[in-house]
């Protein structure tokens, strides 16, 4: 299976959300979010009210994809970490297990060193959870919500 489907269940989501919530506190960050490499938002924590997280997720994934393309040209496997420094906001982007992207947005209330330290620990934990999730999805017995969907359901979606 070249490209397994991403599925999120309550059990794993709660674990992931716990890590993201903790990372906001421990790194003293403004916002932390996790997206998959295709740009789908998986979890977010912190001051997300003012942020367009959908757009951020898509652009970050594009950024990671472009950087991955550059790495390939240089015969590198991946550049796993990116850091962008602004006047007020900074963004730290970490590729986790070559599958999901951990993004931390922070200001001058914290330091890059602390963010990196906390991100490293969180990445290891997240990696384990996503591996567990992948194993679950690849289990042939796993159910999908599509099993019960009928052609009529799909047609009804497009009735104006």
């Amino acid at each position: 299976m070249a490209n397994p489907q991403m599925v999120m269940y309550e059990e794993e989501f709660n674990l992931i959300q716990g890590i993201v919530d903790r990372l906001v506190r421990e790194a003293n960050a403004q916002v932390v979010f996790i997206i998959d490499k295709n740009g789908q938002l998986i979890a977010a924590s912190g001051e997300t009210d003012q942020l367009d997280t959908t757009s951020l997720a898509s652009l970050t994934a594009g950024n990671i994809a472009a950087t991955g393309g550059i790495a390939k040209l240089l015969r590198e496997n991946e550049f796993t970490t990116q850091f962008h420094e602004g006047e007020r906001a900074n963004i730290h982007i970490q590729l986790v297990g070559n599958r999901v992207i951990l993004v931390v947005i922070f200001d001058n209330k914290t330091s890059l060193g602390l963010v990196r330290l906390r991100v490293k620990k969180a990445s290891e934990e997240l990696n384990g959870i996503f591996e567990q999730l992948l194993a679950k999805v690849q289990d042939p017995d796993h159910e999908t919500p599509f099993a019960e969907i009928t052609d009529d359901d799909i047609d009804n979606l497009f009735n104006d």
Binding site: M1, A2, N3, P4, Q5, M6, V7, M8, Y9, E10, F13, D36, K37, N38, G39, Q40, D52, T54, S55, S58, L59, G62, A65, A66, G68, G69, T144, P145, F146, A147, E148, I149, D151, D153, I154, D155, L157, F158
Partner: protein
């Protein structure tokens, strides 16, 4: 690669608009954006050059409604059509659930259409996908222009498999939503069949 979230009860799918330079991919997305209710859409992002040519991609998140309690969300992307942006096109195709191939109906652009279609096949194959197995539709755009090929002619050259196809004038919106509905339906039907991503 669709993303199913049992917690928020959402199904997310990725649709890519592909085609030669200046065929109207971005115009398709702009029309969808302009004609969609604010609550059903997010911000449209265009990473374009100063001359408004797509540099990396356009992005438009769209909510289409609910199926059995699951919200269906589609992320629409365009690729840059110009030949030399091939590396970027490959990146955007990653994780795609469905493709809209936008062809330029003008006879002068026939070769560009064929080249772009071959490029789509090659780039999908590099990622282990086959266009023949991936949900896709074809749009013959610019039907209002002078010097255009007939739909039959275009169909013969670009649509040998007989996938759903539509004539369109993206600048006025003609055919734009018909195309979108067709691809969304194909993607959901494929997911229902337990497929998803044409490589399996």
């Amino acid at each position: 690669m669709s993303f199913i979230n049992y917690l928020s009860r959402e199904i997310n799918c990725k649709i890519v608009y592909y085609g030669p330079g200046l065929c109207g991919k971005t115009t398709n997305l702009q029309h969808i954006y302009n004609k969609t209710n604010p609550e059903a859409k997010g911000k449209m992002i265009s990473l374009a050059t100063e001359t408004e040519r797509t540099l990396f991609f356009d992005f438009l998140p769209l909510a289409l409604g609910e199926i059995r309690g699951f919200k269906t969300r589609f992320h629409l992307y365009t690729v840059p059509g110009q030949v030399f942006y091939d590396a970027s096109r490959k990146l955007i195709l990653k994780g795609v659930d469905g493709v809209v191939f936008v062809a330029d109906s003008q006879i002068a652009r026939m070769e560009a259409n064929i080249e772009s279609m071959e490029n789509l096949r090659t780039n999908l194959a590099e990622q282990g996908y086959s266009l023949d197995k991936l949900p896709h539709v074809i749009q013959y755009n610019k039907r209002d222009m002078p010097g255009i090929a007939s739909v039959e002619e275009l169909r013969q050259i670009l649509n040998p498999n007989g996938v759903p196809d539509f004539g369109a004038v993206a600048t006025t919106g003609e055919g734009v939503f018909e195309t979108l509905k067709a691809i969304a339906k194909l993607v959901l039907t494929e997911l229902k069949r337990g497929g998803g991503a044409g490589g399996r």
